[in-house]
């Protein structure tokens, strides 16, 4: 089900530097200074349930000055992206990421943007199908930083066992027949390629969907990657 994918994504997202919880905590640290200032002010009035209507006049004049001072002293806000900010719906983000990456490639063909997505907060969900499995799954390629990470996630997702270390050797095993499977992907030109040949960033940018298939069916997938690199620019 779609839900479990996001679980995996969320867990991995928190591990990335500058993302998620860390950014949120950094934001809070920036405010601690101002909180300390405020704690010295009498807040007894607030303990009475909903009875506070006016503040003492002294507070009124003190507050704006302190607020301004606090603002001036406050360290600049962290530049790391906070989770869920700006408030753009996940649905919209997914749709727009696909479109904007595609448009960038069309508008700026000379400029290679291998890290357009890596490390950013946008998502790159692609479908993953495994021959014989009744449902497709989805992974967000931006959640991983290497083929190894992706391989681990796919392994968990399809509950298969690997006999090798990475996808390049395609040692996932089909749970029904026990035959070797390989992981392939459809790239932007519509060709089916073997996963693992190109640099990770280039793969993330060009991968449209993943398919885990039996090794026997994968004959004929040639790693024409060197030619493709030249043609793409």
């Amino acid at each position: 089900m779609a839900g479990v994918d996001v679980d995996v994504g969320t867990e991995l997202r928190l591990g990335l530097p500058g993302g998620g919880a860390e950014a949120a905590k950094a934001g809070k640290r920036g405010f601690e200074e101002t909180i300390d200032l405020k704690l010295t002010l009498p807040t007894a009035g607030m303990e009475e349930a909903a009875a506070v209507k006016t503040e003492p006049a002294a507070e009124k004049t003190k507050r704006p000055a302190e607020a301004a001072a606090a603002d001036a002293e406050k360290p600049p806000a962290p530049k790391a992206q906070a989770v869920g900010w700006p408030p753009v719906r996940s649905y919209r983000r997914n749709v727009m990421t696909v479109q904007s990456v595609k448009n960038k490639k069309e508008e700026e063909p000379e400029k290679q943007q291998p890290t357009a997505n890596a490390g950013s907060n946008s998502s790159a969900f692609v479908k993953v199908s495994m021959d014989g499995a009744p449902y497709l799954r989805k992974v967000d390629l931006n959640m991983y930083s290497s083929y190894k990470d992706l391989s681990i996630a796919l392994k968990k997702m399809f509950s298969t066992f690997t006999t090798g270390n990475n996808l390049n050797e395609g040692k996932l095993v089909d749970p029904v027949s026990g035959a070797d499977v390989v992981t392939t992907y459809e790239d932007k030109d519509g060709d089916w390629m073997l996963v693992g040949d190109v640099p990770w960033e280039m793969f993330v940018e060009s991968c449209k969907r993943l398919r885990i298939m039996k090794s026997s069916e994968a004959i004929g997938l040639a790693p024409r990657t060197k030619d493709k690199c030249k043609n793409k620019s």
């Binding site: 679980d7 909903a50 209507k53 704006p64 906070a82 869920g84 950013s120 497709l136």
Partner: protein, 590 residues
């Protein structure tokens, strides 16, 4: 009521009004359109309570955990249309743990049991499974309307069950859901004899649909008024679909892009020319502007235009929108830029709702020239503008004050300045004055989202002036507990409050605990709350459910944590159903 009867027939005195049979009251209440009016009537006396609840046809449950499905079905046995909403709004932005809850299954089960005549069901931000959809198809013989908004958990297999089982289906409206593609040709399961469809919206579906099946379906459903396609329908097929359904009122074109061919252009133009009733248009239009003129013939009739997934920019876009002189609703990307909005301001004087979405929200450089100017222009020239959602990168107090003066009729004002803590870019001051001006001028404001650099001062204004405000969203704002206190001790009509990354702590929460029971819900994340305060709140207010969440998916064993432990996410809501039993391990009810 009971006084004049004796004149004509002295032997039969009319019964005193309070002894009239329930059916009379039920009939009277059927003239009360608003649920709040019905609720008020129900509160008058026992007999009105009985009559009202037994005749209530439409039920809206704004928080699925505020009452149990069994309670709802028992209390309102005659419901024909139900709407249930689940996850808090911030779930849209990934802030709510994924397995948080909001399962639709208990509601479907209770409805199947207690509302066999149910005709309409609508779920928003809930987990709807294929089993739910199968149960819906099997349980309600006169089921007509299914609306799923921002839901997840189901696949095309569930849609197949609906198509096959709901003989009288009028509306299938799928908005921004996550739908698993099982490659089942669900559309083919509408029987050949099925002709009742009025609304078909599958724009969020990612897979392919069988075009021929779709064409046949569209052809035989002569009452089809709303058709929203997904990305798999190519442009030439759109033309032939339109020729089969020229009576269409609302169209979503899916992916509107192809290389330019004069033949295809002519086909499209002719097809659109035939759609004399077309009023609402949307679609994921992809760059190629060459086909836009094919739409020109419908522009004048359009009241609603949603281009918020369209990556068109520049003069073509402006030429198109300028022809839409009767637009009431416009959703666009910031690619329209300030000069585009200036064109909207001069052409679309009937505009009521404007939403401008960011095309590249994570690009710090912000290549697009959309600033406060655009919003100022539109609010100056569109006298009926009352609802705005605007993403931009810079703002000034002066602009906001001008906007507030020009448009005191705002009911919904949501401004998102993309970078947190952004001050007035000219004076470098906080934007307190600007947002305060909005809230002071717009007496009818019911929804408000603030952003940019803000101190407690703005919250003082909001608390004091926003008497009709029902929903308030705050992020990266304020500088002390007073900010939250101003809101909770003011804002008479507040129903939903959602806060993230603000330095608000325990004191204002506890000081205003009673307020929370007058509200539907409160969300606070990444603020300065402690577990002790949440415990106190829960003890003090037994009719509130106080949920505490970790910022990870791991288990959250509260018993071992001290009162001083920080709380990352808090969700508080009033409920008559007691604590829910379906929390995942990362959510704890205090």
């Amino acid at each position: 009521m009971g006084r004049g009867g004796s004149r004509a027939a002295p032997a039969a005195a009319a019964p005193p009004w309070h002894a009239l049979p329930d059916e009379v009251w039920e009939h009277a209440f059927s003239f009360l359109p608003a649920a709040s009016d019905r609720g008020a009537a129900a509160g008058a006396c026992r007999s009105w309570l009985r009559a009202e609840r037994r005749s209530r046809r439409r039920l809206s449950v704004a928080n699925c955990y505020a009452a149990s499905p069994q309670d709802a079905v028992e209390r309102f046995p005659a419901v024909r249309a139900a709407e249930v909403k689940g996850k808090p709004h911030f779930a849209d932005f990934g802030l709510v743990p994924h397995a948080w809850g909001a399962a639709a299954a208990p509601w479907v089960a209770a409805a199947a049991d207690g509302w066999p005549l149910l005709e309409e069901l609508s779920f928003k931000r809930m987990v709807v499974t294929d089993e739910c959809l199968e149960m819906i198809a099997a349980s309600f013989r006169n089921f007509q309307v299914l609306r799923l908004v921002s839901c997840e958990g189901f696949s095309t297999a569930g849609l197949a069950a609906i198509a096959a089982g709901c003989r009288n289906l009028r509306e299938l409206d799928l908005q921004e859901n996550e739908i698993e593609d099982c490659s089942i040709h669900w559309l083919s399961l509408f029987p050949e004899s099925f002709t009742s469809l009025v609304t078909l919206n599958f724009s969020c579906l990612e897979g392919d649909v069988n075009i021929n099946v779709l064409e046949r379906l569209v052809t035989r459903c002569r009452n089809l008024k709303t058709l929203k396609l997904n990305n798999s329908i190519p442009l030439d097929k759109l033309a032939s679909l339109l020729r089969k359904a020229p009576q269409i009122v609302e169209l979503g074109t899916g992916k509107f892009s192809a290389d330019y061919h004069p033949d295809l252009f002519a086909k499209l133009e002719a097809a659109f020319a035939g759609c004399k009733s077309l009023r609402r248009l949307s679609g994921a239009w992809d760059s190629v502007p060459d086909y836009l003129p094919a739409f020109y013939c419908v522009c004048e009739g359009l009241t609603s235009l949603n281009l918020s997934y369209a990556t068109i920019r520049g003069p073509e876009l402006i030429k198109f929108i300028s022809r839409c002189k009767n637009l009431q609703l416009l959703w666009v990307m910031d690619l329209i830029e300030d000069h585009g909005l200036a064109a909207v301001a001069s052409s679309c004087n009937k505009l009521q709702e404007l939403r401008v979405f960011p095309s590249d929200p994570f690009d710090p450089a912000g290549q697009v020239s959309l600033t406060e100017r655009g919003l100022v222009d539109v609010s100056a020239s569109c006298p009926m503008l009352e609802s705005v959602l605007y993403f931009c990168r810079r703002m000034t107090n002066e602009a906001l004050i001008t906007i507030a003066k020009n448009r005191p009729n705002f009911t919904c004002f949501r401004l998102c300045i993309i970078e947190p803590h952004t001050p007035d870019y000219i004076t470098h001051q906080p934007l307190d004055a600007g947002f305060s001006a909005i809230v002071e001028s717009c007496k009818g404001l019911t929804r408000f989202s603030v952003s940019g650099l803000l101190t407690d001062r703005v919250f003082k204004s909001i608390g004091a002036h926003a008497d009709r405000l029902e929903m308030l969203s705050i992020a990266f704002a304020g500088n002390s507990d007073l900010g939250l206190h101003y809101i909770l001790s003011g804002c008479k009509s507040l129903k939903k409050l959602e806060i993230r990354d603000c330095p608000f702590g325990d004191k204002p929460l506890l000081a205003n605990a009673a307020k929370l029971e007058t509200m539907r819900s409160l969300w606070m994340s990444s603020c300065s709350l402690t577990l002790g305060a949440c415990r106190q709140l829960a003890r003090k207010m037994p009719r509130l459910s106080v949920e505490v969440m970790n910022d990870s998916e791991r288990a959250c064993p509260l018993d071992s944590l001290t009162d001083e432990s920080p709380v990352d996410k808090l969700y508080v809501y009033r409920t008559i159903a007691g604590p829910r039993s379906d929390t995942p391990s990362c959510v704890q009810i205090v």
